[in-house]
Symmetry: C2
Subunit: 438 residues, 2 copies
């Protein structure tokens, strides 16, 4: 699988635009097996040998671990944030490489934050990877209930309780093992525990791998709105073992694809076109297709985050479909819909509104609907959502500024969007009425 | 009172060492009325006219406010933290100067966080200062119960609830009006609400004015330890209206003096000597003595914070007596003792341990006890504190690193200290046994 996964990466690497912040890419053998994405000609992706993984930076006095003879790290995408920069490792079987994880552990104590679904699958493996040939490190874990509806203050307190009862100190490391909910909660806990400790992201869902684990947004929900309490807090590294997708339910896989589609729509038309051609392979979990989609998504996200870490403008474009989507999640009860499902319906609504404003052709709106339908994602909100419900929830969205709701809308050719509060609000009303029964 | 308050500032300004980070000081009339602090000769404090207060930086379209003909700002101490730098305004009657506050408000919405004790005294005045000639700004407030025992997650959630129910957005400003508990909670709420909004500190207790409002440490307590959950988050400004001390109970005034004494002990021997001479005036609330003590404390804190914002080393020295003190606060139930009372007893314990280690002369230990006794502060922990209680609580102190408890201890001549885990633990045991019945 590792070799297969690398084949399309190689194809993409030699023919696609370079991500500004992608500084290292290791390509194994280049065996073309999938249609390579059609991209407009531009600067080729820089391909260089990966940095040797010999430099262990751990505080313990554990004996040095020799790297495996042949590292299976397929790709490293760097998130370029000055002294808060970090690597995203992407590849199959990365959890079998203890050194990769251990070099980013600070201190002797680790707290793995995971949930009841992921713990039976990967907690033992991660604990092994953290402690293999590294006897000075001890690992604690806290297993939270699974689901968006538990992304709240009460559940967050369980992380603090465990950390304090375990007498963890400032030189400890929190590890988020799970999907977006775990990553967001563990990250916020790491940001706030003793006013900030190190943390590592090990995302195990496609949603977390392509989006939520990258960029440092952390937080929890409030009964009145999603992600209203949190912090910008960057991890030490993101470790994406694509093998973990083997255990992901279909519905969750599709949820992640909603964010993959997003990158194409807001800034990467060739990636969108590649998805249109390869959606069947993605849904069939073809390893190299998934690996390419993850890599290209992380590159897109890393580029945006490097330019606008704290979302003063550009970064907000990553929220295409999210204002409508968050309203659906909040309005229908956290957890009823997966985040990506709500984002998919929200993306269709954003495309619909963009079209009503005359900002995109009907053909683009149609392609949005088609690709999301093909990914088996919802293209309209649930029946329970009313116009009033949308409006009252969107009024507390984080993108409201001085009372004005700013939205990410498509504008211009495929792959172009705007973040603006300067739109005809009738178009918003019309879209809401078109998608709601009342 | 303003003139009186400025007189000693002038005296100090012309004869004392300059704080590195004190870039602006406005002195009214220089009328020497108090013994000026004896300082070793060094670079005089730079005295220059205050910056004109004409530049209102508010987002609203409110008509410009003319500054008062004669501003009563006595002193501005700058906290130099690059793009997070901010001024500390110190003076009598500053809440009567709307412009001073308004220039630091971002957006049109303000949330004042205060408590049941302070609200009846100053909420109306602060609301007036925020809105006077500034009709575009609207002010909400949340009034929390008063006391350290409410510095918890449940109370913090009330701030989020109010902010969300009021539909505050990212361009709002939180204002902390009260003592250290309010400042810590409001600051952490501002750090976490929508992942960070602007905030302003208006400290109304001596403790908050000389210490907790400056430097960006925010947070809440956990049942197992003090300030274990929080963030480093800097305010837009700190506004210290020394008139607010007129309503402060004696016991709270003394509590603040414990931190003033701390600055002298850890880094400013001339200030300690000045306190020894002027303690009676401080307790009698002589305005110029208080104003000088506040200014010199803020200068000391600003210098330390500018060098080590996130407490990688030097900043920890500001916690002299605090490890013992936090244990007393946690062990005897938050709120039983005021923070400064616990710090006072903790400072005596730190001095005792330093003396047992042979690091300071007995005379220094005696001067520590004498000055704290003179300030009517406790010089020993409450009877309920046992050796075991101290040890188990101190084990989760934030200054523990990889299992080693680091302490701030006095070492060398007056005004010198170390932050270290390299001490004979027998001395710690002996100190604990000497101060505990069991």
């Amino acid at each position: 699988m590792a070799a297969a996964a690398s084949s399309l990466l190689a194809g993409a690497g030699s023919s696609s635009c370079a991500a500004i912040s992608t500084r290292r890419t290791r390509v194994n053998r280049a065996v073309a097996s999938l249609p390579s994405p059609s991209r407009t000609p531009c600067t080729p992706l820089r391909v260089s040998p990966a940095r040797p993984l010999r430099n262990r930076v751990v505080a313990s006095a554990a004996p040095a671990v020799q790297p495996p003879a042949a590292s299976r790290v397929s790709t490293v995408v760097d998130v370029d944030l000055g002294d808060r920069s970090y690597p995203i490792y992407i590849g199959a079987g990365l959890l079998n490489e203890p050194d990769l994880l251990q070099r980013h552990v600070h201190g002797k104590r680790v707290l793995v934050v995971t949930n009841t679904t992921v713990a039976p699958l990967y907690l033992e493996k991660v604990t092994w990877a953290l402690t293999h040939d590294n006897p000075n490190v001890s690992v604690e874990s806290v297993i939270l209930p699974d689901g968006e509806k538990y992304k709240d203050m009460d559940t967050l307190m369980k992380v603090f309780d465990k950390a304090i009862q375990s007498r963890l100190d400032r030189r400890c490391t929190f590890v988020a093992l799970g999907g977006g909910v775990i990553g967001d909660m563990c990250g916020f806990a790491a940001a706030a525990f003793l006013r900030g400790v190190n943390f590592i992201q090990i995302p195990t869902t496609l949603m977390a791998q392509v989006d939520s684990s990258v960029g440092g947004k952390t937080g929890i929900n409030h009964p009145l709105g999603k992600n209203l309490i949190g912090a910008f807090y960057q991890p030490q590294c993101v470790l994406i073992d694509t093998d973990t997708l083997n255990t992901l339910p279909d519905r969750e896989l599709a949820s992640g694809i909603a964010e993959v589609v997003k990158y194409g729509l807001i800034r990467d038309a060739p990636f969108f076109e590649w998805q249109e051609k390869n959606m069947t392979l993605l849904l069939a979990r073809e390893p190299s297709a998934l690996a390419y989609a993850i890599k290209r998504s992380c590159e897109n996200k890393a580029e945006v985050v490097a330019q606008d870490e704290k979302e003063s403008g550009l970064r907000a474009t990553l929220n295409l479909g999210h204002t409508f989507g968050h309203a659906i999640e909040t309005g229908s009860g956290y957890g009823a819909w997966f985040h990506g499902e709500a984002v998919a319906a929200g993306t269709v609504m954003a495309a619909d509104m963009s079209h009503r404003l005359g900002w995109i052709d009907e053909s683009i709106k149609k392609r949005v609907i088609d690709i999301l339908e093909k990914a088996k994602l919802p293209i309209a909100p649930p029946g329970a959502m009313t116009v009033e419900k949308f409006k009252s929830i969107m009024a507390v969205d984080k993108k409201v500024a001085d009372g004005l709701l700013r939205l990410i809308l498509l504008k211009g050719p495929l792959g172009s969007c705007v973040f603006t509060g300067d739109y005809d609000s009738n178009a918003l009303d019309e879209t809401l009425r078109a998608f709601c029964d009342s």
